[in-house]
Amino acid sequence: MTESTLLSVEDVIVDLPTPRGNLRAVDHVDLTVGAGRTLGVVGESGCGKTMLSRAILQLLPKKAKLSGRVMFDGQDLLQLSPEKLRKLRGRSLAVVFQDPMTSLNPVLTIGTQLIETLQEHLELDMVAATKRSIELLAAVGIPAPEQRLMQYPHQLSGGMRQRVAIAIALSCEPKLLIADEPTTALDVTIQAQILDLLAREQRRRHMAMILITHDLGVVAGRTDEVAVMYAGRVVERAPTPALFKKMRMPYTEALLAALPKIDAAPHTPLPAISGRPPDPTRPLKGCSFSPRCRYAWAQCHVEKPRLEEADSPGHQFACFRPIDASASAGA
């Protein structure tokens, strides 16, 4: 943890007005990412991880309310003028969205969508931008890149489209790449390829990355640090090796248990996390996970645990009844 901090999210709250009342999508979140480091953000769908990424990018829906600070490269993104923010986006802050079927414009060619970014930020002429686009497509493993430039998204497979989206994100050598569930919409066989591509390019370009996923298995081995989110809050945060060695939050354990295991006997029922996430428009008084937690006791239902550091350095969790090291080892 000696590198300089590139991104720090400080006490960020995102509120969304809905017909049923205010929805707190992100609830007092603090996170930091060092330059060239990778952070995994893990949680079930609806836990606020996508809203958090949109908050960092300043791409929240118009009616959403955002408070807190998002310090990126020494500037508070919330205070930045729209023009300065625009110059930053795509240039030093890039994103890959979940679904490559919808994130590329269907009526513009791959080439247009790549080149426009290069021309916007790097002021390349058409020839140089085209040349660089071909290099980028080749770098993300797209065969026959020259021909692809002329093609439209619908002529490419899902995996190829996501590679194009990654090429667009990488095009201006960003300092931070946010990958928001980059493989969820893809075939299982392609998922590992895309994740490995992201990890390879991240190391090669010495770029920081936030990898958002619902799959704890995805972040193992591909990130330096992991933050587990539940109901809008970070409930456990630790360096990746430390987390997998000794997870303390029962929710993290449940997430891991919900992963299908490769060595399980055939026809073993998948253990799902029982119950549903709480209704975000009706916040609970106690720990949000307490209704589903098998360890919960009286205190958990009436008081919210704070995210605090314990055990090893950098390992934080918000729980009154953390799992014992010995008990969780087999999980």
Partner: protein
């Protein structure tokens, strides 16, 4: 794409036959006899019988239809029994005027409707958007002949800036031609822009919610590029559709506008033929307008296919 064109072309044939059949049937609705109508008051039974024979009216209806159709296919649509002019002559003489009027009107309507739609979509829910959608809704309740009267009153009677009626061919004096064309084209455009704006606006609002717009923003593109390229280009398909759908209305509007502003176009030819009971001209014009309408719709379909890469590459 080729298969698509072929299929649409094949579909044209039955539709065109239906158009000719319907035109013929409408003309046969005439109570009484065409020969009486042509000969008028001085009709003697002998004259009528002679004319009936000359025109083939004494034959069964299907023989008359195929005879008529055969003549049409040879380019003979008949001749006005009042002016002696052939239908084809009369129509080709007047077609450029109607086309100029409709193209001008469409251009003006797009020039008003498209920018307003974009501004409203970009600031949907704002006060400008609410004001403009309200105005557009109100304008939809103003019939063409009403806005014609309003514009004549305002610009020709009160302000005396523009002539109320009259026409000079473009080839003769372009500036004067445009002066005569401004009010008619504006009248037609006033009926067209609200529809264009409303449809394009709601379409753009939907497009602006798309992931690829979020990505375009995340790429740091300028707002103008996002609106005009990333959002407007997908919506241009909608624009083609609505333009196509509106053509029927535009043609109807042109009839009214040409009559009000005394422009010697197809519409005025049609109305004139009705008032003077020039039934051959009427039948010919109805047929040609119907066929032209079918062809324009075909062209719009083709344009649509060309604009949408998914259809162009045979994915649809």
């Amino acid at each position: 794409m080729l298969g698509f064109v072929a299929r649409r072309l094949l579909y044209l044939v039955p539709v065109l036959i239906a158009v000719s059949l319907l035109t013929f049937l409408i003309a046969s609705l005439l109570p009484g006899d065409l020969a009486y109508t042509i000969l008028g008051d001085q009709a003697t039974p002998e004259k009528v019988a002679a004319l009936r024979q000359e025109m083939g009216l004494d034959q069964p209806i299907w023989v008359r239809y195929f005879g008529w159709l055969g003549n049409i296919l040879q380019g003979d649509l008949g001749r006005s029994f009042r002016t002696g002019q052939t239908v084809l002559q009369a129509v080709t003489e007047r077609l450029p005027i109607s086309l100029e009027l409709m193209v001008l009107a469409q251009v003006i309507a797009l020039a008003i409707g498209v920018p307003l739609a974009i501004i409203c979509a970009a600031r949907s829910g704002g006060s400008f958007d609410r004001f403009m959608t309200g105005t557009a809704f109100g304008m939809l309740s103003v019939p063409t002949f009403l806005s014609a009267i309003l514009l004549i009153y305002l610009f020709a009677v009160e302000l005396r800036w523009l002539p109320a009626t009259g026409y000079v061919p473009f080839g003769e004096d372009p500036a004067k031609n445009l002066r005569f064309m401004v009010l008619p084209a504006l009248t037609l455009a006033l009926a067209e822009w609200p529809g264009i704006m409303r449809v394009l606006r709601s379409d753009m609002i939907a497009t602006l919610q798309e992931d690829y717009i979020a990505l375009a923003k995340a790429k740091g593109l300028k707002a103008s590029r996002i609106l005009f390229v990333h959002a407007l280009k997908p919506s241009s398909l909608t624009l083609v559709t609505i333009t196509g759908i509106n053509i029927g209305r535009l043609i109807g509007g042109a009839v009214i506008v040409e009559t009000v502003f005394a422009l010697p176009g197809i519409g005025r030819l049609l109305v004139g033929a009705i008032t003077t009971r020039d039934l051959i001209i009427l039948q010919g014009v109805v047929l040609l307008v119907g066929a032209g309408f079918v062809l324009i719709n075909f062209i719009v379909d083709m344009l649509y296919a060309m604009l949408d890469p998914r259809i162009r590459h045979g994915h649809a």
